[in-house]
């Protein structure tokens, strides 16, 4: 049984450039490759927000209202809805003085059960170490 682990690392701020959106859409779309795989093969993505990237996780994006585009908040919720692992760096959350209450931690409003996790960077490093492929955005 072969499982390929992918780590998508979001370190950029949202909207001005497409980096964080691309990380999210690639992570979400990685779930569709199953149809091309043999029995027993699979991919296991993890999305990690570090540095300025943690600011993508601030709740309450109104990008659809103002820009007419799907918000990064919706992408994060879609990832949680698909049970993707979402890790947010605790040190960077603390650096910006954010609380878990101000972050997108779940997708309950669209029926998701998986929750995002605020974890120390050491845990994110472990995810990077165990990944077969790293994608920094």
């Amino acid at each position: 049984m072969a499982i390929k682990k992918y780590a998508f690392v979001v370190k950029s701020l949202p909207y001005k450039i497409e980096s964080s959106r691309l990380a999210m859409t690639h992570a979400i779309s990685s779930q569709t490759v199953e149809i091309y795989l043999e029995d027993g093969e699979n991919v296991e993505p993890v999305i990690c927000f570090i540095g300025d990237g943690v600011l993508n996780c601030v709740k309450g994006h109104q990008a659809m209202k103002h820009y007419g585009v799907t918000s990064l908040e919706q992408h994060i919720k879609n990832a949680l809805l698909l049970d993707l692992k979402v890790l947010i760096c605790k040190e960077d959350v603390d650096k910006f003085g954010l609380s878990e209450a101000s972050l997108i931690m779940d997708a309950e409003d669209i029926g998701g059960e998986t929750k995002a996790q605020v974890v120390p960077y050491s845990e994110i490093q472990q995810a990077l170490d165990s990944a077969d492929h790293l994608l920094f955005n």
Binding site: P14, Y15, K16, L55, V58, K59, H61, Q62, F96
Partner: protein
């Protein structure tokens, strides 16, 4: 001169802001520049806000990123697109974008 400056980045442009001089200086925070008004990195406000200037932040860009007028530094005035047009035409002779 009366100079209006659009600042659309969070990690670049601060060095330029530091050196700019104008009789009247207005700094309009747009795009990712809104984090200068909203983020409290390491517990402190952005160093950009220590400049002698009038600061504005575009509410549409602020709200798109999950912040509201209630979250921002008290030195910054919240403006919308219409207000920015008025600033350009009525308050500043020259406009630059950094």
């Amino acid at each position: 001169m009366k100079l209006g400056v659009f600042m659309s980045d969070y990690r670049s442009g601060s060095d330029v802001i530091e050196r700019l001089q104008a009789e009247k200086l207005g700094i309009i925070l747009v795009g990712n520049g809104v984090y200068h008004a909203a983020a409290k990195e390491n517990g402190g406000a952005s160093s950009v806000l220590s400049k002698q200037a009038t600061f504005y932040v575009l509410v549409e860009d602020l709200e798109s990123r999950g912040f509201t007028a209630a979250n921002i530094d008290s030195r910054v005035k919240v403006v919308n697109y219409g207000d920015v047009v008025d600033l350009i035409f009525n308050d500043y002779e020259k406009i630059i974008w950094i």
